[in-house]
Symmetry: C2
Subunit: 168 residues, 2 copies
Amino acid sequence: MKLSDARQQFISSWGAFATHWGINRTMAQIHALLLVSPDPLTQDDIMAGLSLSRGNVNMNIRELVDWGLVDRVLLPGERKDFFSAEKDIWKVATQIIKERKKRELEPMMKLLSQLEDVEGDKKDKEIKQFTETISGIQNFSKQADRMLDIMVKADENWFVGSLLKFFK
Amino acid sequence: MKLSDARQQFISSWGAFATHWGINRTMAQIHALLLVSPDPLTQDDIMAGLSLSRGNVNMNIRELVDWGLVDRVLLPGERKDFFSAEKDIWKVATQIIKERKKRELEPMMKLLSQLEDVEGDKKDKEIKQFTETISGIQNFSKQADRMLDIMVKADENWFVGSLLKFFK
DNA sequence: TTATATTTTCAATATATTTTGAAAATTCAA
DNA sequence: TTGAATTTTCAAAATATATTGAAAATATAA
């Protein structure tokens, strides 16, 4: 397969894939483009490469920088800003886990603890089911939270090595 | 907090939460409603409980059944279909993992293996970066795939227990 | 059968999200 | 300073997604 076709297919599939994960297609495509680009790109490079408007590229690049997946790079002698993606996929994954934990899991856990106690007869069927469901989700979330913390803190080689040994 | 308010808040937050994960708000709200309902509900119960049209409830319930998160229950002597959600959150999670693996991770891995080989000079900077990125994602996906398989096969207590012991 | 209850479908509509592009703001060399 | 290059903003337009509701299909009791 030719490089240009392979790149094209990677970028477009990565974008489609991302929409199943609550991430906007364009943001994922820009990320994909930067992942396969050996050198940093400008906004204009991205506009041209993906046929997008300036505003669109600007907004999505900013989101990628907010997520810690892309860095703004200032090249000496260049007027324009350049952008470069973290290429180590393990780092990409831990960065995403870190952010989603902070943005989603932690607020959800906070809400659950507010819903823990409801007024009324603990024997009531409706109340019982509600509190059981909430505490079930709470337990699960706490496990997940702990496990994700460990993954994020762990060094890639240590983690993968240990996991493989552990799971044989 | 009153049960009715707590239920309301749980359902609405669960729906909002789900949109960050590529799941449609209504589907998640129906799921939440069933999770806190001790007895199975009919389409009409759900329509009334969440103020949704018949068609909308029908389509989203079907999706939930497809995902294996909700069962259609036939009560003796009742004409209508009833629906009931799996209440064990661990089972819910493994079911979701299983489905997403099949629907998303596996097709992605298949694509990556098609993109593994590109024509041209292996020393070329662009080709080098492309193949490195693809193989990095491939390695990561393989690890994730293996780990998720184990989680899905594992029994909750065994898994959580071992994990905690392992991670101390 | 036939009549009625229930479920499913799907075109039309409503809503939400994404994208554009031009104007405003900012940066920076001279 | 000034002004050209660059980035950012954001209202309007385009696109995509979700929802409705009534008609069609299906299931069930009599």
